[in-house]
Symmetry: C2
Amino acid sequence: MSEGPNIVRVAALIADNARVEVLSALMSGRALTATELATMAGVTKQTMSFHLGKLRDEGLITVDKQGRHRYFRLAGPQVANLLESLMGLAFQGAGAHISTGPRDPALRKARVCYDHLAGELGVFVYEQMLHTGVLQQHPGGLRLTEHGREWFNHLGIDTDVLTSSRRSFCRACLDWSERRHHLAGALGTALLARIQELGWAKQENGSRVMVFSSQGERALRAMLVAQSEPSATAQQAAVAF
Amino acid sequence: MSEGPNIVRVAALIADNARVEVLSALMSGRALTATELATMAGVTKQTMSFHLGKLRDEGLITVDKQGRHRYFRLAGPQVANLLESLMGLAFQGAGAHISTGPRDPALRKARVCYDHLAGELGVFVYEQMLHTGVLQQHPGGLRLTEHGREWFNHLGIDTDVLTSSRRSFCRACLDWSERRHHLAGALGTALLARIQELGWAKQENGSRVMVFSSQGERALRAMLVAQSEPSATAQQAAVAF
DNA sequence: CTCATAGTTCGATCCTAGTCGAACCATTAA
DNA sequence: TTAATGGTTCGACTAGGATCGAACTATGAG
């Protein structure tokens, strides 16, 4: 009983079809009501209420009361993180190495992970950002360079506003299909929001799939491939996160 | 049922006291027999056999047959990773922010994570390695520098041998108590082994706690703060054993 | 060969937890 | 106020799974 019960309770919480359905749905980043979740998971309202109570008690989800509706959302990025890594292990173990990642090619290419962009495109974006000096890795974590600040401004995102928020500014999240990192944190959230705002991509009905228009994908990629020599300038001009 | 059952099964596997006890014990990195695990978890042999079968089926652990013994160990670093992140979430959620990390100060200071060093000391080692240029971060992952190669050679570790191994050479693992990274991969494993070989630290009875001798800790820290060259004391210690 | 120990399989038991029907609060619209 | 819809609470039912006793197989020691 050294470090027993806590971890068991969290795992038990995830060890249920209905609740995983809920968490998966909430991975889209949107807040959903109890009845929406109930129909999604294929259970009655009572049952869903029961499950939501449990998830809330253990701190995996939070509730926003608005009028007679209650909107449920994931408690934080760490929860999304945990789910992603669980998925990684689940697919590898059970399927006996069919292939890395989901069967759905669209889900593999670009999807929403909680509130930021994941999948092949998400990984591409992240790695190009490091390569072109928009971001910089550092023992203490990721940093946005001065050049990166300009890059985001050019896209129409004011990074100074984001830094005031209490949540972590920029952060890497491990991608379960790609086994590589993509951008999370306030910066990742803002980027995804802006991509949708610009009409570059749209979230498919109620799923986590992000469908990019061909122009949108081209525009995004274009902003990331053509960059001048980064490493020298990026070195000094780091902004604290 | 989009991506349901797999992840549920993995979670259900962890949602059991006895099995978590097993996995926790195996986080020490050692391979243990069924009866050892049975007494550790406080169940009978039959029950343990039942649990081990399940864990093996799902690919979380592997078995080595040696004579009439069967040695069980974690299937890989990803499993250790998952457990660490689960612990992170468990402690944060349930305890209502008592403090980050385990109550046991020794466990928090230095512990074994699967087969490498974690805890405050592990994080310190990793960050100093980056700071002094032993390791270097790179979009594709971590890299050992030429200076780093020499550093490890001074310590008595031949890094060329390690690169031939199939497993990932050096890799960062997220620390659940520190919320920061420490060194994993073949390099991390070799380092921990060497630390024990030199008598700098010893693993406590059957737990994951690493107890450093005061000289050992001083020697290790000395090798990491003086970035020009390994200190005299460290070289002596390396030769002495 | 005989005995002891490591580990698995089978059957029976017991208990937890997910489920739904029904009744019960809460908020908004009329 | 009444009606309607969103959510929760209560009680009873059921299934799955964790557990152990006992019997069984396999390897090694003498």
